[in-house]
């Protein structure tokens, strides 16, 4: 129990915390502002004028649509693969103790703990070693590898909260293990899986470092954006796309937060 519920923070702390949060958020808002500027050659501030024409320009750029389509397809398939592998791994790790359990969790976390460039170059040299040509599937292979950990983390946390007695009760009442899975476990872990899947989608949709190594000639949306950053054509169009990317990734994160927020209220969770 805390004894200080009503004390308020010292002013200096409030200012430091507020400034810190502002530091985290203001730059992103600036991206939105520049999507409406009439100046396309430089980053002049304040913008000389405001216009909506870049939204139409972005809409009419086939390369934007192509990149976005590829990113959505890659993220969807990687998410499905990560959901299957992450859930299996989480179920195995949380319901039994076995030799090498720690090693399995380390293995799942490794792709995200090591810098992305190492995952990228390792996969690339393995592909060239095995003479696998770069394709849609090589991108998916890389993305699914580091998306597993997100699903795994969410699922493991939820599996720990499901009471073993619920599963036993189901068995006592005559359900076989498939029925127990279908009617007891799945409804309980459902929201955690959905949240993990959303985060995996956001992670894959935004990933650039590993993708530059595994994509060959194709451009996912982040690769397209990286090229625009290095060799800009219509700068405000990049801003429009950046704005869309920010909004697209915010939705799954907010969704995942609201889905796992009430995680403590899972049936039998108090045991």
């Amino acid at each position: 129990m805390r004894s200080d519920k009503n004390t308020s923070a010292p002013l200096g702390l409030k200012i430091a915390a507020g400034l810190g949060l502002a530091f985290l958020h203001l730059p992103i808002l600036l991206i939105f502002l520049y999507a409406f500027t009439t100046e396309e050659k430089s980053y002049q501030f304040p913008p000389p004028g405001y216009t909506f024409k870049w939204f139409a320009a972005a809409w009419n750029r086939p390369d934007v649509w192509e990149a976005m389509g590829l990113s959505v397809r890659v993220a969807s398939i990687s998410t499905v693969v990560a959901l299957v592998l992450g859930t299996l791994c989480a179920a195995a790790v949380s319901r039994t103790k076995f030799f090498g359990r720690e090693a399995v969790s380390l293995l799942v976390i490794l792709p995200i703990a090591l810098p992305g460039i190492i995952t990228g170059i390792a996969l690339r040299s393995a592909f060239s070693f095995a003479e696998i040509p770069f394709s849609f599937w090589t991108i998916v292979l890389g993305h699914a590898t580091f998306c597993v950990v997100v699903v795994y983390n969410n699922a493991v946390a939820r599996f720990r909260r499901i009471s073993g007695s619920l599963v036993e009760a189901s068995a006592d009442l005559g359900a076989d293990s498939f029925q127990t899975f279908r009617y007891i476990i799945l409804p309980n872990i459902g929201t955690a899986l959905l949240a993990g899947g959303m985060l995996a989608f956001a992670l894959s949709f935004d990933e650039v470092i590993v993708s530059t190594f595994t994509a060959g000639q194709q451009s996912t949306l982040p690769i397209w954006m990286l090229e625009e950053l290095i060799r800009p054509r219509q700068r405000p169009v990049t801003n429009v796309v950046a704005m869309i990317v920010v909004l697209v990734t915010f939705l799954p994160i907010l969704g995942a937060y609201y889905l796992t927020r009430d995680g403590d209220q899972v049936a039998g969770g108090g045991k």
């Binding site: 200080d4 004390t7 702390l13 409030k14 430091a16 915390a17 810190g20 949060l21 530091f23 985290l24 730059p27 992103i28 600036l30 991206i31 520049y34 980053y43 501030f45 304040p46 693969v81 592998l85 992450g86 299996l88 195995a92 039994t96 399995v104 293995l107 799942v108 703990a113 090591l114 810098p115 992305g116 460039i117 190492i118 170059i121 390792a122 996969l123 690339r124 040299s125 393995a126 292979l141 590898t145 597993v148 076989d176 498939f178 992670l203 935004d206 650039v208 470092i209 982040p222 954006m225 990286l226 950053l229 290095i230 990049t238 950046a242 990317v245 920010v246 990734t249 994160i253 937060y257």
Partner: protein, 316 residues
């Protein structure tokens, strides 16, 4: 679940799924094996296999005349890392990672402390989302935002001009090493963007470790005559240290391996990530690229080992 013995009290189930279910109940090890095989095959074969192949390549060398890879075991490629121009890259990257980690901890601490100790109800949610949204929002968009801010004609120059502080910016840019013609092509710019992009990863572990600090410990320190600075130094900081170390694993590792931030915002001098990228791409020297990428793995291995000794993993 494990208490049921193999002797059947009931008759076995009928049907394929029923019999399969009974089989798994009696042989939980086989079920476990079936569950673990797909993820372990994927991660073990694809990921570890790729890492191992990378490690192997670093022991090959490249023939200086033909440019072909010489498949003989040698330490020659590792020796190349010690050439001054290559060793500078490693030193520069490690120094940057250390500075970024320290600065991130300083900026993150007040946010984490406020969120852990003072934020309640609605504000708790605002702080949580306020950290999670920037942490998860697009990496490239964040870098792009700073290109807009730091550009010569950008918002920072405009803002300082309004405050009549342009001389301060010019004085800073005139400094050796950290300066340059513009912030967006200087080490200072790289440093700021690294902090911005990786700092959110520092907040959550510190917050987690501070949540466990009881409020009455701080009051006790004050009651015993400790000044706020002493309370911080002798009570709060030691208790938050595992969280800071846990957060520093992320900021340190991510800075070590990044190659896009210094490429877009920075001077033309290379970091490890850029060296790896350039060696495997344009230079076609895969062994040297592999040797370069072993450096962060070794540094992170040592770092994780020290962090584990400090109990940082309990704070994750």
């Amino acid at each position: 679940m494990s208490t049921v013995s193999g002797t059947s009290i009931l008759t076995g189930r009928q049907g394929l799924s029923g019999r399969l279910s009974d089989f798994f109940w009696r042989n939980p090890k086989i079920l476990l094996l079936l569950m673990l095989t797909p993820p372990l095959l994927w991660l073990g074969v694809i990921y570890l296999g790729a890492l191992f192949a990378l490690l192997l390549q670093s022991f090959f060398s490249i023939d200086d005349f033909s440019g072909l890879i010489n498949y003989e075991f040698t330490f020659a490629t590792y020796k190349q890392l010690l050439i001054p121009s290559n060793f500078d890259i490693i030193l520069r990257t490690v120094l940057m990672a250390v500075l970024v980690t320290l600065a991130s901890a300083i900026i993150a601490f007040p946010i984490a402390y406020y969120a852990a100790r003072y934020a309640r109800g609605k504000w708790k949610v605002i702080f949580y989302l306020g950290v999670m949204l920037p942490l998860w929002s697009s990496y490239l968009v964040k870098i792009y935002a700073w290109k807009l801010i730091l550009a010569k004609e950008g918002i920072l120059t405009w803002f300082l001009a309004k405050l009549n502080l342009l001389w301060l910016l010019d004085a800073w840019l005139a400094l050796p090493v950290v300066g340059g013609t513009s912030l967006s092509i200087s080490y200072t710019g790289t440093f700021i963007v690294f902090i911005y992009v990786w700092m959110p990863f520092m907040i959550l572990p510190i917050q987690a470790s501070l949540e466990r600090v009881q409020g009455n410990l701080i009051e006790a320190s004050a009651d015993l005559g400790g000044k706020p600075s002493q309370t911080f130094r002798y009570v709060l900081f030691p208790l938050a240290l595992p969280g800071i170390i846990a957060g520093s694993i992320f900021t340190f590792s991510l800075t070590l391996g990044d190659y896009i931030i210094p490429q877009i915002i920075g001077s033309s001098r290379l970091f490890i990530g850029q060296a790896v990228y350039a060696q495997q791409g344009t230079a076609g020297n895969i062994p040297l690229a592999a040797a370069f990428s072993i450096v962060p793995i070794v540094i992170m291995g040592l770092y994780l080992w020290m962090a584990k000794r400090q109990g940082a993993f309990d704070a994750l």
